[in-house]
Symmetry: C2
Subunit: 452 residues, 2 copies
């Protein structure tokens, strides 16, 4: 007989004569005549209650069936007389599959997030971390489905790169040689790094295939131990040919709404856990993200708002300054109380590939600011004009020869195009209210931390 | 007006008064009264024919509209009088968006794969490479959809790893320091590498969530320049709790059939290109993969077949030898003429984590062998018994302390579980008949080759 997952059983509308369930014991209570076992199989947050009569085949294993043990139960799915759950299982046969001795670290009590990080291999067996992993999976699937429905092609841009294309951040170096062996004798014959962005590669594909996206691991070697930075994280980077900044914001807004709406619809139980125990404002944030029209505001106007705000910011702002998280959050959380696109940023604080506006001092950049997180998305219309691009590269002293292929795309059939980057873990923090990036990644990598 | 993609236009059942198309010129023919332009926008293999009457607004740009140029055309979608295509566009207005001077490398003539690798940033603009990128995208989407439908959770296992868990191959080292600085002063405080497999991490998640899969970039620092090896490639690794070797083969077979069937249904035009111009046997292979029941054969019986085969193999075989590609292909291509699972391999040629069978000399491993490729999938039931696992680790002199977390999973609620690895690029080579792995990856990484 094939096992049925608990998620399927609990979604049924009618009882069932014969079921086989396999999973891990969350709790067990014994009385003289029965034992009650809560079994969870990871398919959903809820466990199912199993009732084992004394004398049931296999019930001699009951003394060894403790929290964390794996069991197999065949029996009857019956309507539950208790509150909370529609069904429970009357066991006909019980099997202890794998014991969990008393040293099992996840005994029934609350554990701190800090402690659970030290047992990242076991923490997905808890309610909270099981829930975040299911939401992470569903969010990924929703992203893929959104882009597939919109006619985008998924591309895989390389992790190993020979260029530091954007200067987006500190890079990890990759090598197969030791000590002072010159890079020319290394595996690739030159210095190579872990990618900080797949954008430039994605542009090449968009200029052939139309609409594309890359979604994969991205790296920063920044030695800062904060709750918002990891050395390895996932980034979504769509790139659209024949698309301007307005189209870029349209797609960003449609994507975020699609994902939030999909998660609310399909992960209701897991989301409720976070809304109840992690962030009391979560449902308000998520319904706003799903239902509100996002504000679209020029950077220049944002500066005006921030300057006249009755608020003591740590960092002062004026035209030309890069906004800090405190400013971004003020705009989204306090001033507008909903997501805000800022666009047309000063040229000086943005990378070389962004399209220079007619005013000569701003570029067609946009950031999406959201409550609690600040910047969720950063994007731009790309500079498609070869002469303007070369001008910017000269200003920033970027060596033309390193970018020959990128420049080629502006020489041969260049078209207006746009794209953005969305930090996947930031999206997950937004969706769950979790405040430490280490807790939305299965096995996080941060300075000094490489276990598992 | 919003542009419509060519794929959508060609799928229509009726003409349309007003359309806007944007794309790249494949060819142009001029006559006195008309010009005929084939426009491709990457949404599908087919281009659409545009007819521009002399004197149409924008037609003064015609002399500069050459192969590779980007144009925008508004006009009427009319039934095509010619053969081959249902519709064409009568242009009302033409705009040259981006020129392509004569130096554009993709003029209309056949180019060698070798040459096209040197312009990997432009090659997706050709029929063949556009097709492979669309098939790559669709195949990814089908994989995600298959597992989502089966209730699997997508997990992201880390690329940066502190362990060389399997000894699966040579690894790239990651560093942020130079020269002879000791690893203890490096970013992670120890030596770290690029992952060769996410399996051990995936097992931890399967033992919490049930059925999971990881699908991401994987690395080998093997300095071999062959048509089948790349330093960076994508690997799919599902892992299933409460699943034995038979279940493992069942899921593998269902997945491959689902993907092949889906690609045949949704990428018919692109697949036809490969069937016509790359591999004349492609359709036979693909329909066999979709329709035939896969053979399931014990390794021991395969040895018998190979030993009695009327065929001169370069390498002799006997029980205990690792099969070579020639043996794998003989079984799948000549002897059975369909996909073959081999299972129960000798313990000595397989890694420590595979479950030892009761005979004490074989392990519950399985490989899926397919025509032309040889091994497409390698998997096993994992050793869930702590004592047996420790025994194997001692035999292979693996340090216990490095695997404390892996061993934990056998101490706390251990259950029978299985999984496999599928090389994504091998699958794409199987689906297209392409024989060089460099040609199914957007920007391939091989020894000495890191451009783009």
């Amino acid at each position: 007989m094939k096992r049925t997952k608990i998620k399927e059983l609990l979604a049924r509308s009618a009882p069932l004569d014969k079921v086989l369930v396999k999973g891990w014991v969350r709790t067990k209570r014994d009385s003289k005549e029965f034992s009650f076992i809560e079994v969870n199989d990871g398919s959903c947050l809820a466990s199912i209650q199993v009732i084992v009569d004394a004398g049931t085949p296999g019930s001699d294993a009951l003394p060894n069936i403790s929290t964390g043990a794996a069991i197999s139960v065949s029996g009857e799915l019956v309507t539950s007389p208790g509150k909370g759950q529609a069904f429970e299982i009357r066991s006909h046969e019980l099997e202890l599959v794998g014991v969990a001795p008393e040293s099992y670290p996840l005994q029934k009590k609350r554990h701190s997030d800090e402690f659970l990080r030290t047992i990242a291999h076991l923490r997905p067996r808890t309610n909270k971390y099981g829930a975040i992993m299911r939401i992470r999976s569903k969010t990924s699937h929703l992203i893929h489905r959104f882009f597939e429905e919109q006619g985008f092609f998924l591309i895989h841009t390389p992790v190993i790169t020979g260029s530091d294309c954007e200067g987006a951040g500190e890079m990890f170096r990759i090598t197969t040689v030791k000590g002072t062996t010159p890079a020319s004798e290394d595996f690739f014959g030159q210095e190579t790094n872990l990618t900080v962005s797949g954008q430039l590669s994605a542009e090449m594909m968009a200029l052939a295939l139309g609409d594309v996206y890359t979604f994969g691991p991205t790296f920063r070697a920044e030695n800062s131990n904060t709750s918002r930075h990891a050395a390895e994280f996932w980034m979504l980077e769509p790139e659209m040919a024949f698309c301007d900044l307005v189209g870029n914001m349209d797609i960003t807004e449609a994507l975020v709404k699609y994902v939030v709406s999909g998660v609310l619809d399909t992960c209701a139980e897991d989301i409720a856990l976070f809304a109840n125990f992690v962030d009391k404002t979560l449902m308000t944030t998520l319904t706003s993200l799903r239902d509100d029209a996002y504000v679209r505001l020029a950077y220049r106007d944002a500066i005006d708002i921030l300057q006249s705000a009755k608020k003591d910011f740590e960092y002062p702002v004026s035209f030309g300054t890069d906004l800090q998280s405190e400013h971004e959050r003020y705009l989204a959380e306090e001033h507008f109380k909903k997501p805000v696109f800022l666009y047309n940023y000063p040229k000086g604080i943005k990378p070389f590939y962004m399209r220079v506006n007619d005013d000569g001092e701003t570029v067609a950049a946009m950031d999406l600011l959201v409550p609690r997180i600040g910047e969720l998305v950063g994007g731009s219309q790309r500079e498609e004009r070869e002469d303007k691009l070369l001008e910017r590269m000269k200003e920033l002293e970027l060596p033309e020869e390193d970018y020959w292929w990128y420049l080629d795309s502006r020489r041969f059939g260049s078209v207006p195009h746009s794209g953005f980057g969305l930090g996947f873990e930031r999206l997950l923090m937004l969706l769950t209210g979790i405040t430490n990036i280490r807790d939305v990644i299965a096995f996080p990598r941060t300075p000094g931390s490489i276990e598992f």
